[in-house]
Symmetry: C2
């Protein structure tokens, strides 16, 4: 393994990898981190001092604005290794753009896309041993930015830190997911920050999700906060409903994350001549479809869980079970998507990006 | 200055105070911190190791959940010094309770109220030199809790840190505040976290507030996210409207912070035989009152700015100026409130709490 050369990034390679200490068959999602991390500071109006160094703790003021005012946004992406040991990213341009869209909404300065790519590819390349072959295995990549200026005045920070961490992940078998449809709590408001991958959006979901768990449901499908009549998305996945052979999914709005997996599923469906409707979907419509048997599938789509079939949903204290389909769309899209991601099929859309 | 004795708290007093380096006549709000800070960690299901030590940087994992999922809540309160050098807090029980209400909504474990008090009073007592006498001077106190567990799985943290920082503050003369009434962006959703002092609520307001500033308005009065027809609160203040001699203010809901200053103003108004209506207030009603001359005052109420008169508001691209009142309610409540806070008047409500 050579240290890649970067003209822009100061690279401090670890003396010895920690990889031998990791049991790759017993990974808990997001708990183990690779040897290196990237960091870059925003100060005096410029991003400066981009550095790759050993993964390890930070020193930060307890008055840093991230702790008080939550200025923090992130991304989630994955690297895959094919049978020839080539390493691939999936649509990384989408994440580079989306983190800046999120940042803008939180009054955080944008991070230069070229430096995002250089940091990402250099880091993945250095830690390529951490990307494991085989179905379900990946290296989860977490770019994020947060406010570091020390000060408890309620105004945007003048200083930030952009970082990338990487965590090896296994196929994340969640079992059958049963979900609750939100009737009281909500995830985001019109004119709010729901469309941003803002840190605060996630903390807001933990308590309602705990309540749902106590009732036996692993996740919540959020509805619009004004009426709770329209289906929106899950905590970390966009959601698709298959009614007969048509796919329905909520349109992108300022309340919903514009998911990369979601848009890829839509493109695959179109290619496969499956009808997709991006439109507001009424809860009542899905309840009706469940009752009359036209609701064939519900599945979530997101980077971490890829495609996640939902076997039952609850609404107004009734649980509706969804029968397993022989010709499952969820299974089909999961295979098509992961085959492209892992270089096991053609890539007609140009979604794969090789890290050399 | 003696080190107070605490049976519970490990106290590490600084060798030398930094107070001589501080120019108390040139304070920027929230930028200078007193000699000591309090910290206490939640681990293995219990709050442990409560410590007072020198204000200074923390060491924390970059994977700490606060950076990724925004689990963080805070409080804001003030200590005042009277002419006899006695130091007073204002309704600290309210903050001790509210931080736990906020914590519960964000799936953060509650902090024991008795330890909150012991930490608060011990810390203020140790740094009592930092509380300055004289009108407008105070020591701003910032208790806060944030998630420290290292892990990028989207679930509640198992570890947290509770801290208290303190920052000397001067009368914070903001000049005449002109506000914009929100017509597109919003602060919180029904069933969301608006009633919690959650870090993410503040970051969400920075971008829309920047836009308002560019148009010449310092703050936004938020409206309900569903219709934008009802007035709610400002970024860090609850808002009162005086129509003729009646005060109107939005009722507490899951979208609005239950402000200590707000409830104190309501109690003062009742005592003073001023009619107060806690009810939903239509934007159209206030616009109408501005047009027909019955709108006498608008003011914000919050710990940092105390009572903050608003001299103009903008709605649908029209700006409505509010004439200065001879018998200003804002000025009256400000004097009554600060007189109680600074031990310059009776305290019929039992709001003052002496720190010995
Ligand atoms: C709220 C939310 N919705 C949807 C998604 C799915 O987005 P993507 O497919 O880009 O991972 C995510 C992120 O993973 C998310 O956090
Ligand atoms: C959103 C919001 N509203 C209102 C207030 C006023 O509350 P208090 O009077 O308790 O300071 C604050 C806090 O200061 C706040 O952050």
């Amino acid at each position: 393994m050579n240290t890649p050369i970067s003209k822009k990034i100061n690279i401090q390679k670890v003396d010895k990898s920690r990889i031998d200490q990791v049991d790759f068959d017993k990974l808990v999602f997001g708990n183990v981190f690779s040897d290196h991390m990237f960091e870059c500071d925003f100060k005096d109006g410029v991003w400066q001092n981009p550095t790759i160094k050993a993964y390890g703790p930070l020193t930060i003021s307890p008055a840093a604005k991230v702790f008080h005012y939550g200025q923090a946004v992130f991304e989630g992406m994955k690297a895959f290794k094919d049978e020839e040991d080539k390493v691939w990213l999936f649509r990384p341009d989408q994440n580079a753009k989306r983190i800046n869209k999120s940042a803008a909404r939180l009054a955080i300065p944008e991070f230069p896309e070229d430096l995002f790519f250089e940091a990402l590819t250099t880091l993945v390349s250095m830690d390529r041993e951490w990307v494991r072959k085989g179905p379900g295995n990946s290296l989860y990549i977490r770019p994020f930015v947060f406010a570091t200026q020390a000060g408890v005045g309620a105004s945007p920070s003048t200083e930030y830190k952009f970082m990338i961490l990487m965590s090896p992940a296994q196929a994340y078998y969640t079992g059958d997911i049963q979900v609750e449809i939100a009737e009281h709590y909500s995830r985001s408001a019109n004119g709010g920050v729901g469309a941003a991958k803002a840190a605060g959006n996630y903390a807001a979901q933990f308590f309602p999700t705990n309540l749902a768990r106590e009732r036996g449901f692993q996740q919540i499908i959020w509805t619009d906060a004004s009426t709770h009549e329209y289906l929106e998305e899950a905590g970390t996945m966009n959601v698709f409903f298959r009614v007969n052979d048509t796919l329905l999914t909520a349109p992108i709005s300022d309340r919903i994350l514009d998911g990369v997996t979601r848009k890829s599923v839509i493109d695959l469906a179109k290619r496969d001549n499956i009808a997709v409707e991006e439109r507001r979907v009424l809860v009542s419509e899905i309840v009706e479809a469940a009752k009359n048997g036209s609701l064939k599938e519900i599945f979530g789509a997101g980077t971490a869980a890829v495609i996640s079939p939902i076997s039952a949903f609850s609404f107004q204290n009734k649980t509706y079970e969804i029968e397993k389909q022989e010709d499952s769309f969820a299974a089909k899209f999961k295979k098509e998507l992961t085959d492209i991601q892992r270089n096991l099929s053609e890539d007609p859309f140009g979604w794969r990006f090789e890290v050399v």
